[in-house]
Amino acid sequence: MINTPSVPKPGESTTLWLIKLLTGPILLVVALIHMAVNHYIGSIGGLLSHAEVVAYYQSWYIPVMEAIFLTTVIAHALIGVRGIILDLKPAPALLRILDWIFVVVGVGFVIYGMWLLAAVAALG
């Protein structure tokens, strides 16, 4: 017989899916802006030097946008990769460890990213 609903508590998958679903479009818009910036603003070729990057981060809205981009892309990516791993049906114990790794990596990189943003903005 199929085992009881899998280890994570019911309804949790819907929440994770919703996060992935909501971060997706935000992420795509910001990513396109992010890529456009790299190729247009600044000298013809985009942000091609340290100085130009620092100058780019001097306004208030760019760091906020980049921070949103940072958190949404990390959340989306990790939930997605977790989904792929779930497709391979890891053992519940392994899944619990992996969940911990995902959380640690996710929060860790968000903090690191925020610190980097602040540092670059401060250089201005």
């Binding site: 017989m1 199929i2 085992n3 609903p5 899998s6 280890v7 994570p8 019911p10 309804g11 949790e12 998958s13 819907t14 929440t15 994770l16 899916w17 919703l18 679903l21 989904g83 779930l86 497709d87 391979l88 049906k89």
Partner: protein, 251 residues
């Protein structure tokens, strides 16, 4: 005598505990007959130890699902003309993702158990089955009352064989049971919401739509999985904003 083609039929053979191997049969075939007729002729005239599942021969029982040239087909309604040309080769394999009993016969037990788990109705009201607007409702336009008839889903397992995720994830409910849950209606069984919304439910589906591509009887599991997602998201948002009084779910 109707037109006769010469074709080579390659059947995947496997007896318990032995390595699978391909067996070739050169035979004459009428392009308008169905693949199951060829398999039956091989059984009747060449090799009575060939095991294959079949019963109704007109797509109501769902027993004769196989992979024909690597595509899941209900072999009783797959004309020879549609899968091979004169002088060509036709490959028949058992369905994927089900344990093989022997040769082309697979054990569909797990699919039946899950259909029972989600409470799929074997007979259902005609209107309830033809719920999707794109469906042409079975039967005359509007004969007045609603009729009870055998469900669209014939539990043939083709979608379960075609789905890439069922292949890698044994516990994933799979397209047919999820479509069965949608047909049964989430309100029919309060536990259903958590089974369908769990990690082995609709969130494992990755929109390959292979199930809808191979479904021989209009169930369109892909569409029904997305409908279940819409209901689940609705339920989740409702539970965030107003505590979940009763599981009131729109069909």
């Amino acid at each position: 005598m109707a037109e006769q083609w010469n074709i080579t039929l390659v059947i995947r053979r496997q007896k318990q505990g032995q390595q699978p191997y391909d067996q070739e049969f050169k035979m004459e075939a009428n392009p308008d007959e169905n693949v199951i007729d060829l398999v039956e002729r091989v059984w009747a005239f060449h090799d009575k130890t060939l095991n294959y599942a079949h019963a109704c021969h007109h797509s109501t029982c769902g027993a004769c699902g196989m992979r024909v040239n690597n595509v899941e087909k209900l072999t009783c309604i797959t004309p020879v003309r549609s899968v091979v040309s004169n002088g060509g080769t036709l490959r028949v394999d058992p369905m994927r993702n089900f344990p093989v009993i022997s040769d082309l016969a697979v054990d569909m037990g797990e699919l039946y158990r899950r259909m029972e788990l989600v409470g799929h109705h074997p007979v259902n009201s005609d209107r309830q089955e033809a719920i999707q607007k794109e469906f042409r409702p079975a039967g005359p336009a509007d004969p007045g009352e609603d009729f009870i008839r055998l469900s669209d889903c014939i539990e043939c397992g083709l979608c379960m064989s075609a789905c890439p995720i069922v292949g890698s994830t044994p516990d994933y409910l799979g397209p047919a049971p999820l479509a069965g849950a949608h047909q049964a209606g989430l309100a029919s069984n309060p536990k259903l919401l958590d089974i369908v919304g769990g990690t082995d439910g609709v969130w494992r589906c990755h929109s390959a739509y292979e199930c809808t591509a191979v479904c021989p009887s209009n169930v369109d599991p892909g569409w029904r999985i997305m409908e279940l997602r819409r209901m689940l998201i609705g339920e989740k948002l409702k539970s965030w904003f107003s505590p979940r009084k009763s599981v009131e779910v729109s069909k």
